[in-house]
Symmetry: C2
Subunit: 111 residues, 2 copies
């Protein structure tokens, strides 16, 4: 795999990496993976103030990771591409492994 051109790295960072760089946004992505929801439902489920949820959703929508659709007075949000949660799961898997490896090293040192 060749090194990526800087421009492409910028895109990757601006759109995707920044989007997942907030715990609340990660929560929102998981919640939308479960099923599409409207703003108030998300706010109640995740115990966040409505303006906070709305702001995070606006950011995710701007980054094209979620789409919004009006349903009466409410606005239902859904993931543009559910694979974004697969990515988060892969990150978790990597994290689990490196933490375990770290634990082993500490064990060996204490022997």
């Amino acid at each position: 795999m060749p090194l990526l051109p800087l421009q492409e790295i910028q895109l990757l960072h601006n759109y995707v990496c920044q989007s997942v760089n907030d715990p609340k946004r990660i929560q929102i992505l998981y919640a939308l993976y479960d099923e599409p929801r409207h703003v108030t439902a998300l706010a109640e489920l995740l115990d966040m103030p409505q303006p906070t949820v709305s702001r995070h959703l606006a950011l995710l929508r701007q980054r094209l990771l979620v789409t919004a659709e009006r349903s009466g007075p409410a606005v239902v949000y859904r993931l543009s591409d559910p694979r974004i949660v697969d990515v988060l799961e892969q990150m978790r898997s990597i994290l689990r492994e490196v933490l375990e490896r770290q634990a082993e090293v500490l064990d060996e040192q204490s022997e």
Copy 2:
């Protein structure tokens, strides 16, 4: 997939998401995927000041995504788990798709 406990989301964010939330760190991860390198080699390859590279590496090492090994006066860094670059590639794939979808929508609107 159940919603994740907040604590696990925090871990995910602190270790992995934050790590990839900087264009220069993404460049470094790709460069180390290519092959393990020492600080100065990275600095020259990526055209960054040495202290900048060193600081980013320190962060990545603290997050357990890279490991450091002394080799004479130099310190060789390598990826703890190459799958981190697979994750970045998956992000790129998702980004490419949503951007294409966006382009289609704009085309339809202009017809």
